[in-house]
């Protein structure tokens, strides 16, 4: 498997968590979300804008987030995404399991024969 494929798989697995993280800070619109990820990661985590919308709409279907429209300029309307209470608890749960799992993977990578994870 190519490294680029691996990275795209990591992205696929973490994009939901990262979108929830950003929305836990403040309401944001789609373009802003992708730009923020790009900025914070020094361009190392870039996603196609279009690819995050399926996740955002799925989260909205599950009542984790809601959205509202706001006028920006004369012709432009922005859709702001807002993290709901249920979304916040889901985010915390997701973050906890992510940390536990990555800790486990780290342990397994550094482990030698006879080491047991506690």
């Amino acid at each position: 498997m190519k490294t680029s494929n691996l990275i795209s798989n990591y992205k696929k697995a973490t994009i939901e968590l990262l979108l929830l993280k950003l929305l836990s800070e403040q309401d944001m619109y789609g373009y802003q979300l992708s730009q923020e990820l790009k900025k914070r990661s020094s361009q190392n985590y870039t996603i196609l804008e279009g690819s995050m919308y399926p996740i955002l709409y799925r989260l909205s279907d599950d009542k984790m987030i809601s959205f509202h429209e706001e006028k920006a300029g004369k012709r432009q309307t922005r859709i702001y995404y807002h993290l709901e209470e249920s979304g916040l608890s889901y985010y915390k749960e997701l973050l906890k399991s992510y940390r536990e799992y990555s800790k486990l993977i780290e342990f397994l990578i550094d482990s030698k024969e006879g080491d047991i994870y506690e």
Binding site: Y29, G30, E49, S51, Y53, I55, Y57, Q76
Partner: protein, 135 residues
């Protein structure tokens, strides 16, 4: 935005619209959000070219591919069930239309075969008229 860029973007939107499956969940909302993002990007970067936009947002094929990989297993099942249902309905409608047109053709044929055509012949005999050629 200049006119050339607007027309190139229109073509790009059409391509994206065509390539994303019709049954994709929230297809319309997602497409309009993408349009909004492209618009925001173009406003924030005056003098931007079509190539810059494609580099940033990806080609229509790349976009469709990322959409497909992001579908959850439930969505894949939902989409496939929807597609199956739609195909069944289309096949059913085609069969009914075919059945009806066959019926109509047969009916027309049957009527033409079983209708008694009455041909009335008329013979008109005009009285002889003498033409006076002396005057």
């Amino acid at each position: 935005m200049n006119k050339t860029l607007i027309s190139q973007l229109k073509r790009y939107y059409r391509h994206v619209r065509r390539i994303i499956p019709k049954d994709y969940p929230h297809r319309q909302e997602i497409l309009s959000s993408i349009y909004q993002d492209i618009y925001s990007y173009a406003i924030e970067h005056p003098g931007i070219t079509y190539e810059n936009i494609i580099n940033h947002f990806g080609t229509a094929e790349e976009m469709a591919l990322s959409f497909a990989t992001l579908l959850s297993p439930e969505d894949v099942i939902k989409t496939s069930i929807k597609t199956k249902k739609r195909n069944t309905i289309i096949i059913f409608i085609i069969l009914i239309a075919l059945f009806l047109s066959c019926g109509m053709i047969y009916h027309a044929y049957w009527v033409s075969e079983h209708t008694i055509v009455e041909i009335e012949e008329k013979t008109i005999i005009y009285p002889e008229i003498e033409i006076d050629t002396k005057n």
